[in-house]
């Protein structure tokens, strides 16, 4: 009997040990598979990250500043390449020519330049592969400033380390190296002493045809002392004043003194008759509420 009891007790113990081993093995497998999954995900992430790209954030800055005050603007420069990069940070003037094309110049040479207000904390910065660095631009606004001022931050990326010379067996190899430069935009408006005046100088509406949509062109001039972001909407009314169509006018930025056409289209059809296009344009003003301009253009559909 004692022997039977002992055997039974041993069998029970054996079962427990087996169960314990199974459970331990299950837990081990679970831990292993979790680690494997994490490793695979990590490797996949790295593969995804391995593209040749570099970037700047923010690319454009539109800030409202107090006269006589200082402001710090951070720029994040990212390097998603396998190369250790050196970024050179500088500024240049930015303005526009008579064809509204952007022009650049040395600091202090173009109208409403803010280039000499900006000082980078580091004129050069080295960024390791697959990483990013924050560079500070300290902006000091003169007490005499009034209105809008502009500058273009320039970040030029180049290899940080000298290139290895070509192996002797490849003496005649031809190689093209590509570098990248970013030109951003910084726009500053003083919180006071800024005057606003945006005008619609004229306009034209072309009626829709079988092959083309209605096209609207507005000649807009910004006489303000700072830039204005002009956006709008239009409604088309028939001869009895009923609404027959409407649309929006996408936002466009005008620097001080800039004059250019604002375009909008409408894809609906209109029967022959006389119509009126009622256009409203609006733009924001620093420190005061936005303002709206209204304009009407006649439209005849034959």
């Amino acid at each position: 009997m004692r022997t039977d009891v002992s055997v039974g007790w041993q069998a029970s113990n054996l079962l427990k040990v087996h169960l314990k081993m199974i459970l331990m093995s299950f837990l081990k497998s679970l831990i292993l598979s979790t680690c494997l999954c994490a490793l695979l995900l990590c490797c996949f992430g790295n593969t995804q990250a391995q593209q040749n790209s570099i970037g700047v954030m923010p690319a454009s800055v539109d800030a409202r500043l107090r006269r006589g005050a200082s402001h710090t603007q951070n720029f994040t420069l990212s390097n998603t390449t396998g190369t250790r990069l050196r970024f050179r940070c500088s500024v240049e003037d930015v303005w526009y020519d008579e064809r509204n094309t952007r022009v650049t110049g040395r600091p202090g040479t173009l109208p409403r330049s803010a280039s000499e207000w900006v000082q980078f904390s580091q004129p050069e910065v080295v960024i390791e592969p697959y990483s990013s660095v924050v560079v500070k631009a300290i902006v000091t606004v003169p007490q005499t400033a009034a209105g809008g001022y502009y500058t273009s931050p320039v970040f030029e990326a180049m290899p940080a380390d000298p290139l290895k010379s070509a192996p002797a067996s490849q003496d005649d190899i031809a190689t093209t190296t590509i570098r990248v430069r970013f030109r951003g935009l910084m726009m500053f408006t003083t919180l006071d002493a800024t005057e606003y005046n945006v005008e619609i100088m004229g306009g034209h509406v072309s009626p829709p045809t079988a092959s083309s949509e209605l096209e609207m062109q507005l000649d807009v001039r910004n006489r303000s002392t700072t830039h204005a972001r002009v956006r709008g909407a239009f409604a088309i009314l028939n001869s009895s004043g009923s609404l027959v169509g409407r649309g929006t006018i996408e936002e466009k930025r005008y620097l001080p003194g800039q004059r250019s056409n604002l375009r909008a289209g409408w894809s609906g059809g209109l029967p022959a008759g006389k119509y009126t296009s009622v256009i409203t344009l609006s733009y924001d003003r620093v420190g005061i509420e936005p303002t709206t301009l209204s304009y009407e253009l006649p439209l005849v559909v034959q």
Binding site: G82, T176, F182
Partner: protein, 193 residues
């Protein structure tokens, strides 16, 4: 026993987390079964711009490593006759009476975020590696006359974000060009307008 204990503790911990999560989602409440909590989240969207340069379809490999520069394309051994097939893989050669053009496509992909009125243009200009006079850059109709100057030339206007813009880069080797290593640098500038 220890396994049992561990399992028991695990269940207790899981239950605690569950209760903590439920409790955290609740605000003070009197005589009611439900309540809501408001979570205010704020973020400022900034503008950002990025330029990806990658190997063009059927083109030579664009590499980026410490040994090759920021982005680099090796054309291999080239000559002014366009003969011998000594250039690297996926480099196309077009010979004419004066020399040979070795060319390959690359992809320029600008990526923007947060732009309202602003757009971006891409220009190309010559660097100062020394052999830029031999460098060529252009669209699919690149030829021996597609020279690159030190004055920036617009190659892509109002480029759409995430658009793959195929550009061709190459070397034009005149018959009279002296033998030796040739290196040219092209600078692509992405400008926020």
């Amino acid at each position: 026993m220890s396994v049992k204990k561990n399992l028991r503790y695990s269940f207790i911990l899981a239950a605690l987390f569950l209760f903590a999560g439920t409790a955290a989602a609740q605000g003070p409440v009197v005589d009611n079964n439900t309540t809501t909590s408001n979570l205010e989240m704020t973020a400022t969207v900034q503008t950002a711009v990025q330029l990806n340069i990658s190997t063009g379809t059927g083109g030579a490999t664009v590499s980026g490593s410490n040994s090759t520069g920021l982005f680099s394309i090796s054309f291999g051994n080239v000559n002014g006759l366009g003969v011998g097939n000594t250039q690297n893989a996926n480099i196309t050669v077009v010979a004419d009476g004066s020399g040979a053009l070795y060319k390959t496509p690359i992809n320029l992909t600008p990526v923007y975020s947060g732009f309202a009125s602003e757009t971006a243009d891409i220009t190309v200009e010559a660097g100062v590696s020394g052999d830029e006079a031999l460098a060529r850059e252009g669209d699919s109709s690149i030829s021996s006359s597609s020279t690159v100057s030190s004055t920036p030339a617009t190659v892509i206007s109002n480029a759409a974000s995430d658009s793959n813009n195929t550009r061709y880069v190459g070397f034009y080797i005149p018959k009279g060009e002296s033998a030796g290593t040739k290196t040219a640098t092209l600078i692509y500038t992405i400008t926020v307008q």
